[in-house]
Amino acid sequence: MTWALAALGLVLFGAFATRLDLDWAARIAIAFTCGIVIGGSLMYVESLIGIAWSPWTVGLPAILCAVSAGWRLSPAATGRRNPPEESVAVALLFLLTLYGAATARITTGDLLYFWGPKAQHFFNARGIDVEFLRFPHYYLMHSDYPPLLPLLSVWSSIWTGSFSYWGAVLLGPLLLLAAVAAFRGYSQSGLFAVLLAAVLTFGFAAGRVAGGADPLLLLFEIVALSALTFRRSRADDLVAAIALAGAAFTKVEGAAFVAVVIAATIITRRSARPLLLAIPAAILLGSWIVFSKQHGLLDSYGRAGTPLHLDRLGFVAWVTGHQISYGAFYLPWVASLAPLAFARNWRRAALPLIVGAASIACAIYFYLHEPDPAWWIKASAERVLLTSLASFVVASAAASE
């Protein structure tokens, strides 16, 4: 648990977010979210220019960020108080997820197959270990997968002295809590925070995501979508831009999410200005792809020419449709969409609704690149489509104004 808690030190990098006009839990959660992106980017740049990671090289910049941004821990001027039972329910759902993680019931295999080994070797090398990534026998570890999760793991390892598989698993519930806290702050709805926590708790259990990149990706996605949907100031755009960069730098699917969010925001705002939100994501991911190409690491991002098997559309839709019932009669979908029956503000819900629907389309589009994707869908659909479920909860909250 110490290892997982050490990750919270990244909040220093995002200290500017403590000045947002939100409740204190949301401000800390958003500072943590932005801190992961800023701290991870710093470690990435340090590695590119040959600076070895150490408590000094990563800790000092964190302190400088916190000091220069200034902390504000006083209560926010705005915001409504949520009934205490809603906060208690969120806390219990967090504990339920923590139980699942601590009893090894929701661990992802990807932690063992590549996220853990990458973190372990990056930590030993005190930098992004290119020789390790391009070792031919480790090609199944997806050498060009974005590195933010291993960077986050190395951050914790630097402070605790070693990489911890248990720490990586226990980080999952902390990320869930941060996502729910940020969402509650933006939506000012404790009720829908309970629903989001319940959907994610079930999704984490069904998809077995702890220790993998999905909880981190969901944190970025929920923060970005909440900031844009419940936008009150330009600062929210900044938070969204940072969170989108985090999504793109965490998983391949994150880049598709960024594209979908930007397109949906342009449509709903009827302006091209939201393109600016993608700049940090484009810089981070673009530089990573260039870096990967230069060092012979291109794998997933080098498959742009892979043919699309449109003849398999019916099959893919059928298998995906079956898999995302979650073996629970589509309960999470019903739960996240049912509140829309009471919708009052469809206009505000448009952005997350478009993103949720487009994320399903994106997943199917990815699956269509494999001639026989049944195994892939069965292995990933329950995890990947948590993005859509979370988007629909955000939409329900937005519509229920």
Binding site: G100, T103, A104, T107, P117, M141, V194, A198, A338
Partner: protein, 142 residues
């Protein structure tokens, strides 16, 4: 009405979550031995790997070449899950795929150390060094 829908949906999701946890086998309130102990309705093969590798790790000199796999009929097999897992659990060793201990590999090119999980490895050029409840450590006979 909206509150009732949200609370009911949340309660049903909690019940569904508890059902998922329950089918992943008891004990429910004991510290698990590995991060993979209760991920499925049956014991996952990688649980044994996670138990075994910390036990054999001190017996293999750092920097050595080693492969890790579940033997099939006493021989090597393509066991990506196991050897990729070993890459993370043996970060100070050179973990290579199982074929490096295959029957067709010339004796001088056989990998030095083999960790066999679950069942014994019967390659005649390898001698057991240590045995554990979840597997064996072998070293090549040069």
């Amino acid at each position: 009405m909206l509150r009732g829908v949200v609370w009911t949906a949340s309660a049903l999701l909690v019940i569904a979550t508890l059902q998922r946890y329950a089918v992943r086998r008891p004990p429910y309130f004991a510290a698990p031995r590995t991060v993979f102990q209760h991920v499925d309705v049956r014991q996952h093969p990688l649980h044994g790997v996670l138990v075994l590798l910390p036990q054999v790790e001190p017996l293999i000199p750092r920097g050595s070449d080693v492969t890790v796999f579940h033997p099939k009929n006493g021989e090597t097999q393509n066991d990506h899950d196991t050897y990729l897992t070993a890459v993370g659990l043996l970060p100070h060793h050179n973990v290579l795929p199982p074929f490096t201990a295959g029957p067709d590999v010339p004796p001088e090119q056989l990998i030095e150390w083999v960790v066999a999980v679950g069942e014994p490895f019967t390659h005649p050029r390898y001698a057991p060094v240590a045995g554990f409840p979840n597997g064996w450590l072998y070293r090549v006979r040069r």
